[in-house]
């Protein structure tokens, strides 16, 4: 993040509200710190509002933060990260504007970092992950929402067996039938290798539904299970990845993880089908199938 606020200045500004602030991570316009609010650890999110962007882009950025907070407010379930006790607030440090708020602190590791360790999850863990993702998508669907950014970076593996995985980052969640935040119809929000093929349809805003999230969830589980992204090859350019998303059929998961039951592999293979109609539409029935495998 550009203009990352100095830890000391931030701590001074939050004096009396947050103690023992320490830096955790950053990406895009956001930085994350760990701090203690009334002696409980929370993740303090700091969103940078650049001064050199035009007013509409600024409104869009603020809108995304607001929407993420609203969405988290609606998705009160163990599958999602929960809002913390610090409500959103505008702050200014050295003439730079930020929005600051808190989420619960999650003691765990995201799937991306597990993948970088060449970690090989077993069936029971993969079932837990699949169930978490499906329950999260179901809850979003019930609120007419699509996450649009499900990927290993946004799934945290926790240490608690009661709550094994948590989904993060609802910043670009999409409200079906809602107003688009961006005016640019060519803009595709999300992370390219995890985007569903229908996102590249010029009429994607009219046609997109929760099955795009099912696709991203399938790609995420496939990659976590096999250590290999089913579509993207390392080092290739974005256009090649886009072409592959539209045209390349992933290798069946069972060929990379022959130790897993074929019924589980088939479920994941079905989720990464190009045509939404080929992905199972009933999350309830799919959850039942997945549970039967455990």
């Amino acid at each position: 993040m550009e203009y990352l606020p100095a830890l000391e200045q931030l701590q001074n500004l939050l004096k009396g509200k947050v103690d023992s602030l320490s830096y955790l991570d950053q990406g895009g316009f956001k930085a994350v710190y760990k701090g203690y609010v009334q002696e409980r650890p929370e993740a303090i999110k700091v969103v940078y509002l650049p001064a050199d962007i035009d007013e509409e882009d600024r409104i869009e950025l603020i809108g995304r933060v607001k929407r993420e907070i609203e969405t988290l407010g609606k998705c009160k379930s163990p599958e999602f990260v929960q809002l913390g006790s610090l409500p959103p607030e505008s702050i200014n440090i050295n003439g730079i504007d930020y929005i600051i708020y808190s989420e619960e602190y999650l003691d765990g590791e995201n799937l991306r970092s597990k993948l970088s360790e060449n970690y090989k999850p077993d069936l029971s863990e993969l079932i837990q992950l699949t169930k978490t993702l499906l329950k999260a998508i179901k809850l979003l669907k019930e609120n007419d929402l699509i996450h649009r950014d499900i990927k290993p970076d946004n799934a945290i593996k926790l240490k608690s067996p009661k709550r094994p995985f948590v989904i993060l980052d609802l910043g670009i969640a999409f409200k079906i039938h809602g107003t688009a935040l961006t005016r640019n119809s060519m803009f595709r929000p999300g992370t390219l290798p995890y985007m569903a093929p229908e996102m590249f349809n010029p009429r994607f805003r009219e046609n997109i539904d929760y099955r795009s999230d099912m696709y991203s969830a399938g790609i995420t589980v496939y990659e976590y299970a096999s250590g290999v992204h089913p579509i993207r090859k390392r080092g290739e350019d974005a256009y090649t990845t886009m072409y592959r998303i539209l045209k390349t059929r992933p290798q069946p998961l069972s060929t990379l993880r022959p130790d897993l039951p074929s019924d589980f592999c088939k479920i994941i293979d079905q989720l990464v089908k190009k045509l939404p109609a080929l992905r199972p539409a009933s999350i309830q029935k799919l959850l039942k199938k997945v549970k039967e495998l455990s």
């Binding site: 229908e198 929760y210 059929r249 079905q270 539409a281």
Partner: protein, 399 residues
């Protein structure tokens, strides 16, 4: 894959005999030819020979745009209390659609049917049309209105389409995306695909349905709907029944007249054609086609496999059989093809279909080798369309 009798004009005792032969599992009564008051007795007769027979009624509401035409041939449809004439504009109103669904359900739930088929209109050209929007509205509201009756049976939404609708892949896929993610979906779909007859021939093998993209599209409908938990009953599917079964279909249907083997909206319009009855034919599984009694006699001397080797063959041994036997032999042949080709693994089923088509192609080649070039060009096109349809289906279904 189950096989149902597609009911129509002059059923006689054909359906009862089909159940006795154990080659059909159900019947789809035609509202045009079955009187409401007759269904109770007919259902009893069927149940006396097959206790678990599936009994359905096609309300044939898709003819509603034709009813006001002077040359319309609607049989007894107008006698059904739910049936009424409509203009397209009227059906754009959701209230009208709801009323039609409610009226139809009120009538048919009183009948001894095992499942209920909901009314719908026919989509004539494209899924990007007003008719498709209206049809989707019927599908969307089917379960909601059916539930109001309190009836516990399964309800099937009708999807009646022209073969042309399956040729625009983009529109077709968007339609599939829509109907597979309904909030309150029906339990299944009753699908009929209309295609005209290209010439005087009345066989499905010569019809416009025999086009690789049309068959692949019909298979794709069965596949996408079945993986999403819907039961799919295919009306007028005749020899294509095993193809649809391999793709996940629950049942197919065929009947005794050519217009019960393949669907066309033209069956509801009077024509000036002569009244000569079509020649009685034998459905050869080796040829995937129907041949006349004379052709059969000549062919089997050279290629005995043209005989199916099934019990109904005996009806053809002594001479041209009685007309009412023809459909019994067809049901026997198709149900046998279903058993031979449809297994739980779709990949294996598709391979089996390919073998079946290859075998037919070889049989045609052998016939030509004996100097019997039986409709050589037409059959080559027929075989090509069947084989390409399997390949196109694999591609589209990402198998």
């Amino acid at each position: 894959m189950k096989l149902f009798a597609q009911h129509g004009y002059s059923p006689g005792d054909k359906i009862i005999n089909g159940f006795k032969d154990n080659t059909i599992d159900g019947v789809i009564f035609s509202a045009r030819y079955e009187k409401m008051e007759k269904i109770l007795g007919d259902a009893k007769d069927i149940n006396s020979v097959s206790a678990d027979a599936e009994i359905l009624l096609d309300p044939e509401f898709y003819t509603c745009f034709y009813a006001h035409q002077p040359d319309a041939k609607l049989g007894g449809l107008n006698e059904w209390p739910y049936f009424s004439t409509h203009r397209r504009g009227q059906l754009e109103s959701s209230e009208t659609v709801e009323k039609i669904l409610a009226d139809t359900f009120d009538t048919v739930v009183k009948l001894p049917l095992t499942s209920i088929i909901a009314p719908n209109i026919f989509i004539p050209r494209s899924f990007n049309s007003i008719e498709a929007v209206i049809a989707k509205n019927f599908i969307r509201k089917t379960q909601q209105l059916f539930k109001k009756t309190g009836d516990k049976r399964s309800v099937f939404a009708t999807l009646a389409i022209d073969r042309d609708t399956l040729l625009d892949q983009t529109e077709f896929e968007e339609f599939l995306n829509d109907i597979t993610a309904l909030d309150n979906p029906p339990d299944g779909f009753y699908i009929i695909v209309g295609g005209g007859i290209t010439d005087d021939q009345t066989e499905i093998s010569r019809s416009e349905i025999i086009h690789a993209d049309v068959i692949a599209g019909w298979m794709m409908l069965n596949y996408t709907l079945s993986i999403n938990g819907f039961k799919v009953i295919n009306g007028f599917s005749d020899i294509l029944t095993p193809f649809l079964g391999c793709a996940g279909g629950y049942a197919g249907a065929t009947g005794w007249w050519s217009n019960l083997r393949m669907f066309s909206m033209s069956r509801y319009i009077s024509t000036v054609s002569g009244g000569r009855l079509p020649t009685i034919r034998y459905l050869s599984n080796a040829l995937l086609n129907r041949i006349t009694h004379g052709e059969r006699r000549a062919f089997i001397k050279l290629i005995p496999e043209i005989n199916n080797g099934l019990p109904r063959d005996s009806d053809y041994e002594v001479g041209e059989p009685d007309r009412k036997v023809e459909v019994l032999q067809s049901w026997e042949a198709i149900s046998h093809l279903n058993i031979e080709n449809i297994v739980s693994d779709m990949g294996e089923s598709l391979q089996s279909l390919e073998k079946m088509v290859n075998r037919a192609e070889i049989t045609y080649t052998n016939l030509a080798g004996y100097g019997l070039p039986f409709n050589r060009e037409a059959n080559r096109e027929y075989m090509e369309a069947l084989m390409e349809s399997i390949q196109a289906f694999r591609r589209n279904a990402e198998i």
